[in-house]
């Protein structure tokens, strides 16, 4: 298959700093990015006229618990004017789970980054409001990490079975 304009432009601009990875499942253009480059790559994809990635679709995280670096942040972007899509992947190590925010490029990324922080504990540098999105502030830990105990509960109120004299 011929190289798409996205891949060509990215290679021209970033050279060895990016790596095209195969995506046999859906054939979407998929690019592995160094985590320090993520904001640059995103800004390039957003601003370059022939690419014009104006729609932020998704951001999530994967916990590859037995690999180093452990986490992988995955981005899905789309261009409404050109009808093309790209997937970016950036590895983030366990010791220092941080990556630059892209919420300044697409505002839609704001809550997705908060969710990834909530569930996986990946911190997004420069995020304007990095609080938990879904869980309560009292929650300790990040439940979608593979080493979070599956049955662990963190109740906010005393459960009835723990109360004295409950009928």
């Amino acid at each position: 298959m011929a190289e798409s304009i996205t891949i060509r432009k990215l290679k021209e601009r970033f050279g060895d700093r990016i790596k095209v990875v195969p995506s046999p499942f859906d054939g979407m253009d998929t690019v592995a990015v160094k985590r320090g480059d993520i904001a640059d790559v995103c800004r390039f994809l957003r601003r370059e006229e022939d690419l014009d990635y104006d729609l932020f679709r998704d951001l999530t995280c994967v916990d590859y618990i037995n690999e180093t670096p452990r986490f992988e942040v995955v981005y899905h972007l789309y261009s409404i004017s050109h009808a093309h899509a790209v997937r970016l992947k950036a590895r983030v190590p366990e010791e220092d789970p941080t990556i630059d925010t892209i919420s300044g490029i697409w505002v839609g990324a704001n809550w997705f980054e908060r969710e990834a922080y909530d569930m996986y504990g990946v911190k997004f540098n420069g995020h304007p409001d990095l609080r938990r999105l879904l869980l309560y502030p009292e929650f300790v830990g990040h439940p979608l990490r593979k080493d979070y105990p599956i049955d662990k509960e963190q109740p906010l109120v005393q459960l009835r079975e723990e109360m004295k004299g409950v009928r």
Binding site: Y136, E153, Q154, P155, V157, R160
Partner: protein, 160 residues
């Protein structure tokens, strides 16, 4: 709290029991605590086709202070559990609770960090309705079970 508080100790009131229970069981004022998909079935049950009004329970009250039957319908997460407890505590005696659907009864298929494994870990439950979601018929069956349970109560047993 109800009429029973006006009666002095030592009075046995079988006939009064009957008439009060009859009044209570045919005039449930429901507080629907709806959090998830089961709510659709409650809406179906409450609408004209299934017609919950046949059981005198057609009038949802969205203030716990005006309700006597709480319907816990849907998934109860640990995040919402304090609200559930607060709403329950704000209801006046006598009060009953119906858990509708697998999630409210036992946590359903959510066995994870966020879901309370059964609303009865937060508040006492009188009737459990199974199903994911229960059909409106099952919901109405639950209302009938609730009525049967109210019928067995004595106003003396709730006096304290």
């Amino acid at each position: 709290m109800g009429i029973e508080s006006a009666l002095p100790e030592g009075i046995i009131t079988t006939r009064l029991d009957k008439v009060i229970n009859w009044g209570r069981k045919w005039s449930f004022f429901c507080y629907p605590f709806i959090t998830a998909c089961c709510g659709m079935e409650y809406m179906a049950a409450a609408a004209s086709h299934y017609d919950i009004a046949r059981f005198g329970a057609e009038f949802p009250r969205f203030s716990p202070r005006q309700a006597d039957l709480m319907l816990v319908v849907g998934t109860i997460s640990h995040k919402v559990a304090p609200v559930l407890r607060l709403v329950y505590e704000q209801m006046c005696e006598p009060k009953w609770v119906m858990a509708v659907g697998a999630c409210a009864c036992s946590g359903g298929f959510y066995r994870n960090y966020s879901v309370v494994q059964g609303a009865d870990r937060i508040i006492p439950i009188d009737v459990y309705v199974t199903g994911c979601p229960p059909r409106p018929e099952a919901f109405l069956d639950g209302i009938m079970k609730m009525q049967a349970k109210v019928d067995t109560e004595s106003i003396l047993s709730r006096r304290n």
